[in-house]
Symmetry: D2
Subunit: 204 residues, 4 copies
């Protein structure tokens, strides 16, 4: 069965909400989500690396703090240097989601930093695959997928409020769609590896 690791850190619970939505999307696409929650101060990630070794894809989730991944997420990334030298994650799929208080809030830097990180590991990167959801500058609609307009990863906005009420429905649906998309891509990628080579390729 296709397994998707979801490695994430949540400071105030908003990324927890999104990680659960990503996991729901993964399940709906017929794959198994392995939720790996990074704790502040964590330095031992061996159990994470073991679960990732069994996974077809890794979806990284981090709040955007000061325009970048959070320090606990970075601790995980730095610890992965040990795996890096073994090339264990090569050809796995990667994707990312992030959340901050502003519509833009420099969230793009978090997502591109995670894409650069995944590339160092030799991974493939899965975009959200969605059109921008909201081109209306006067709309308060928060129930539209990809309303913030992000593509290299999923973005959400959380008010200074409880994770029970924020992020709103549209951003949560965006996270769910990302989970489903990565799961479908991982299944296709795996089938492609298992399928017999066409004859032409044998002499190629």
């Amino acid at each position: 069965m296709t397994q998707i690791a979801i490695v994430y850190h949540s400071g105030f619970g908003h990324t927890d909400v999104l990680a659960a939505d990503v996991a729901r999307g993964v399940e709906e696409a017929g794959a198994h989500p392995a939720l790996l929650r990074i704790e502040a101060g964590q330095t031992d990630f061996d159990a994470f690396f073991a679960a990732i070794a069994e996974s077809d894809a890794i979806i990284f989730g981090s709040p955007t703090y000061m325009g970048n991944v959070s320090a606990p997420m970075k601790a995980f990334m730095d610890a992965s240097a040990a795996v890096y030298f073994t090339r264990q994650w090569k050809d796995k799929l990667g994707a990312a989601f992030t959340v901050s208080g502003s519509p833009s809030g420099d969230k793009l830097n978090t997502l591109t930093s995670l894409a650069i990180f995944a590339a160092q590991h030799g991974m493939l990167w899965i975009s959200t695959g969605q059109n921008p959801g909201n081109n209306d500058d006067t709309s308060a609609a928060t129930d539209i997928e990809n309303r913030l307009g992000s593509f290299i990863g999923a973005m959400a906005q959380a008010a200074n409020d409880s994770p029970e009420v924020t992020p709103k429905a549209g951003d949560r649906a965006t996270a769910r769609s990302l989970g489903a998309r990565v799961a479908r891509a991982a299944a296709r990628w795996r089938r492609g590896a298992d399928a017999p080579l066409p004859e032409a390729a044998l002499v190629g």
Copy 2:
């Protein structure tokens, strides 16, 4: 008198609106704005370079097209390679503004690309200096400065509508504030160059 060059391209008029707002801010801060509008297909930028040579700062404005500066803006940037080798822009101040249809819309990549470009010329980069204006994910308020939450440059969102009605008041005020901030910074930077060195420095 402090002069601020505003080099910009506008495809559909929205960046024109913002450039005028930036110019207004420059004037309000007691400096002279030199508006330099790039036309599609333009390859000769000698008049631009002459005006910039007389300027204390350059504010770059471009719509975000496909996640980056527009091609006409890039044509200007590439043409500046001739100036690059002379180091003419070294120690001038730089700043940027951009607009696209989505709240995020990868606008950050346009702004960081312009900051990287300015750094190649040896310039100093002026941030917006503003707190994020809107941390409320359900708000439709469009009259708040820095409502999109951008710092390395000013961001605006334009609906698929006439530049007479979009971008809205908050984004236009953000552009105006950027113009004023750069003008004030340029005046201070120039005074600093003209002021007598303190005695301590003379023996430093």
Copy 3:
């Protein structure tokens, strides 16, 4: 047969050399390279879009000018907005290569900008998949693959010399490896789409 479009611009011939190397790699992996060379000033890309429609992957190649893709490459990117709205490139594979005069030379910004661009089109991004080739700061060896240490795309360095002698062997081999890697990934990705779904997925 798997077809890989190579869309590139070359100002002084160095990117031409790399594009040919990428094409060689594509062929060696049993796929067909469609070389699409952007000319300075080009505004009509319909023939390009037709060839890309028949391709499984697009490899973008651009010199790094002033810390970003060249203006002619950006003209192509902007023109692709027409395709963007049709989602034609969704789920195609993407990758990139670039060249400039310095070892770093802000080439990373060209590559991430192209990855962001591909993500807007809903594409998947293929990393180089290589370890860094050269961790020795005193070595002049130029025959090592990935000697510059790039992952989200392939980097080359060209001296101020004829494309007949620069970039050197290591950088050219890096480009060739990228072509082969993208071709293999595209074949696997296509086989995955064609392979029968496992039974479990049918009820998912």
Copy 4:
């Protein structure tokens, strides 16, 4: 007296070497360097914030780990959120240096991430101001300033060797130049604030 805070983390001693070179440059330009070394696991940065409050500029130094600032540097950045809300660093100058094992090694992402971070604090960003030092792809010369070709911050390359022998002279001179440049800019910026306003501005 102008004071320049140098906030840095060093994992294996190479960033220590560069920080000392930056400090030397600061002193040569007649300013006082305040070296603030981040320890792994550090969470209390109050003493750092107190020293920074007395400083005119902050130069950030971090190794590039997995394509981004190190986790300990990120811990400092996240902790600065408390200062962020007070706007204490607004209009201070900022700059950065980084080191990794490869010539490129995604170091640019570390530098732009630090520039984005400084912009969130409302700071001004100081580029290296240097031309690229080495456009010769066959040269092993390591004694040239800015040999790697970086502009938005200073880059160094360190072999897998002791900090006593790497980074080499050219990269160390680049760091020293950055320190001197920031110190000179900070002195000019401060004089500009202290100098009497020209009459024209009084009625502006």
